[in-house]
Amino acid sequence: AQSVTQLDSQVPVFEEAPVELRCNYSSSVSVYLFWYVQYPNQGLQLLLKYLSGSTLVKGINGFEAEFNKSQTSFHLRKPSVHISDTAEYFCAVSPPWGNNDMRFGAGTRLTVKP
């Protein structure tokens, strides 16, 4: 079964600074990878996903992530964050076949300070 580890539970950063949220996955087979964002009292919104092809994936709100198969990582990056990026970010994995369930990491709380 697949699993996801988000290496940082909290990431504080100043506005306009770059940020990287780290995600490692465990799987013996190929996987689909996702990043979701959750604003307070809201559901999860998809930021970006990796299914196949180019390892650099661009998403909404200026976020991007790079799939690294050798390091089993899928880190999320943004070159310049805004106050409005303050939220909880979840990395998730699902197998490209079978029951297609999605497994989530514990989340990283990104706090952008002025």
Binding site: F34, G43, L44, A106
Partner: protein
């Protein structure tokens, strides 16, 4: 396109009481999921339906939790009796996929507090 609708948004009950949550997925979506998100944790899959059949309920505490998806559209998740540790946000998600999952769309969730 309307999103995944859930109700109620908030619910407070006493332990040992029963509670039900409702979810209306995006029209035409074959697959529906219920997730439990405890404060400070990532969502955990409780049950997955494909149309009106259960695909995976291995993590559903069946002694107290039940779920159904009548006619392959709306779904209801019930807890009876509730325990303090059931306090969480219950998220419903849907996907058009019946094969590999390429995206799941989430509702706003129901926040349950058991006192």
């Amino acid at each position: 396109e309307a999103g995944v609708a859930q109700s109620p948004r908030y619910k407070i009950i006493e332990k040992r009481q029963s509670v039900a949550f409702w979810c209306n997925p995006i029209s035409g979506h074959a697959t529906l999921y219920w997730y439990q998100q405890i404060l400070g944790q990532g969502p955990k899959l409780l049950i997955q339906f494909q149309n009106n059949g259960v695909v995976d309920d291995s993590q559903l505490p069946k002694d107290r939790f039940s779920a159904e998806r009548l006619k392959g559209v709306d779904s209801t998740l019930k807890i009876q009796p509730a325990k303090l540790e059931d306090s969480a946000v219950y998220l419903c998600a849907s996907s058009p996929a019946t094969g590999a999952l390429t995206e799941a769309f989430f509702g706003q969730g129901t926040r349950l507090t058991v006192v």
